[in-house]
Amino acid sequence: MSADLTELYQQVILDHNRRPRNRGKLPTANRVAHGDNPSCGDQCSVYLRLDGDRIAEITFDGSGCAISQASASLMTTQLKGKTTADAQKLYDEFHTIVTTGQAPEEISDLGAFAGVHAFPARIKCATLGWHAALNAIKGDPADATTETHKD
């Protein structure tokens, strides 16, 4: 396996893909948004319980490649308990990671996605769940279609 591919499919990603965290509908959710990656058919729904501006609970559901599923899973573990402002900040950092391959020191597991930058076609996969989560936070009922976004 090439170095690029090993970078892309890090252990943490494979682990989240095999055993997704926080998967399934959230009965207590007060926000939900859906994301589509129309070119490849990946889908992701994100369910939130917002408590003021804090993300009290978050789950996801969907289907897609290992990158998209692991990213959504890992995201839920990172966002739980954060404020909505923190969530936006984390996404910005995550976006930098997947587009540049540069992971800042202090960021832990999200850095596993640095390998994505070598596969530009997969950036959309990695950000799908994040787009859905941010739309849910914004209360935007529109689908988060990755192709409307400049990743």
Binding site: S2, L5, Y9, I67, Q69, R122
Partner: protein
């Protein structure tokens, strides 16, 4: 038997390394590669003859017009049309089908009418009919497909019930791009004709892969793309029976299609000009003629046999992989040179990314067949699709890379 080594020498693109491995191009269902002869036709045109057609009397314009109309005649022969005027140049299958849906649909469909298609259509032979039905108030109905060994074959018994006199148009694919099903197109046309329905065949996956004769099929319209049959991108054909074309209004209007224009209105030339508003895609039409020459020099019957053998070998070898689900008709049923498959727990996109690391080009996704995928209980499949330059060794490379991928993801 095809001399595949000789054929491969005709395709410059095949002789490259991808990620350190020789390119194994198994994405022919999406688009085919181009032989030297087709590329040369483009270069020759732009280096010697390029000019606007039809309205010119100088040497270049006459050469360009002759070559363009020569390509039309060549393609008419390729599909055995009665008259070159029955060959309308379009951008591809999608535009050809839209032309019929717009022009024919607008003139003929009304509330109470039925447009019939099938559950296995590509989005390009599905959405235009949804739109035409919506615009006219007609109802769109679908011929269901079968499961089991005939998976993806059409339910011809249901067709008996569906083909009523209310059916004004029946649009169906010749070969399914996801399942590999080869539909009994001549029979479908015959039965549609019996109730007075106009027939539209989506020949995107068939015309470059098997002998095709529009008069033997008995269809009214037939659509295909150049890029899937070794021709360039940006050119395709709508074949239409002359008697129907002469009664149809153009969809796009503009220069080149008119007899007389005033500030109040215009009158149309006959087919094919009527349907080719604006400067046509001259160079690519000529190169599509060259693709016909090339394919006929090999023989489409030979190509069909070669495709079928590769699909058979691929299905046998793939079925040794743990947990594989091969989609589409099994033994016995008519099947084209493509094989779709899925694995529980490994997504098609991860498979395609891993295969690419080994130089193997596959397609993964819904193949513009979302409703069909849903019916199959899948979100995506991986597809290997073959053509005249593929070999059994390439199937071994395919199986090897899949085995490595499964090992990585499943252990």
């Amino acid at each position: 038997m095809l001399d595949v080594n000789k054929i491969r020498a005709d395709f410059p693109i095949l002789h490259q390394q991808v990620n350190g491995h020789p390119l194994v191009y198994l994405d022919n269902g999406a688009t085919a590669q181009k032989p030297r002869r087709v590329i040369d036709a483009l270069v020759h045109y732009y280096e010697r003859d390029n000019s606007n057609v039809h309205r010119g009397l100088h040497a270049l314009s006459m050469r360009a017009t002759d070559a363009y109309e020569g390509a039309r005649a060549r393609i008419a022969k390729f599909i055995n049309a009665a008259d070159p005027a029955e060959v309308i140049f379009t951008r591809g299958t999608t535009e050809s089908i839209n032309l019929v849906a717009h022009s024919w649909g607008h003139a003929h469909l009304k509330p109470g009418d039925v447009v019939l298609t099938t559950e296995i259509e590509h989005h390009s032979n599905l959405i235009p009919w949804q739109q035409a039905a919506r615009a006219s108030g007609a109802t769109l109905k679908y011929v269901p497909f079968l499961g089991g060994d005939a998976e993806g074959g059409l339910d011809l018994a249901a067709l008996d019930t569906l083909l009523t006199p209310q059916v004004k148009l029946f649009a169906f694919t010749h070969i399914s791009n996801t399942l590999g099903t080869i539909n009994p197109a001549a029979e479908l046309c015959r039965r549609a004709r019996a109730v007075g329905a106009v027939t539209v065949i989506d020949a995107a996956q068939s015309v470059g892969h098997m002998p095709l004769d529009v008069r033997a099929l008995g269809c009214d319209f037939l659509a295909f793309s150049g890029h899937k049959m070794c021709g360039p991108t940006g050119i395709g054909v709508l074949y239409g029976r002359r008697a129907l074309l002469d009664k149809l209004a153009p969809d796009e209007t503009g220069g080149g299609i008119v007899v007389s224009v005033t500030y109040e209105g215009a009158t149309w030339k006959p087919a094919p000009e009527r349907f080719e508003a604006g400067t046509p895609n001259v160079a690519d039409a000529i190169a599509l003629g060259a693709a016909c020459d090339y394919l006929d020099s090999i023989g489409r019957d030979q190509i069909a046999a070669h495709d079928a053998v590769l699909a058979q070998v691929a299905m046998e070898k793939l079925s040794t992989l743990p947990g594989i689900r091969i989609i589409g008709p099994r033994t016995g049923a008519a099947r084209s040179g493509l094989v779709s498959f899925a694995f529980e727990g490994v997504h098609a996109h991860d498979i395609v990314t891993f295969a690419d690391e080994d130089g193997v080009a596959l397609r993964g996704g819904h193949h513009c067949n979302q409703p069909l995928m849903r019916k199959l209980g899948l979100t995506s499949t991986t597809r290997a699709s073959f053509y005249l330059y593929n070999t059994e060794q390439e199937i071994d490379a395919l199986v090897a890379t899949l085995r490595r991928t499964l090992k990585f993801f499943i252990g």
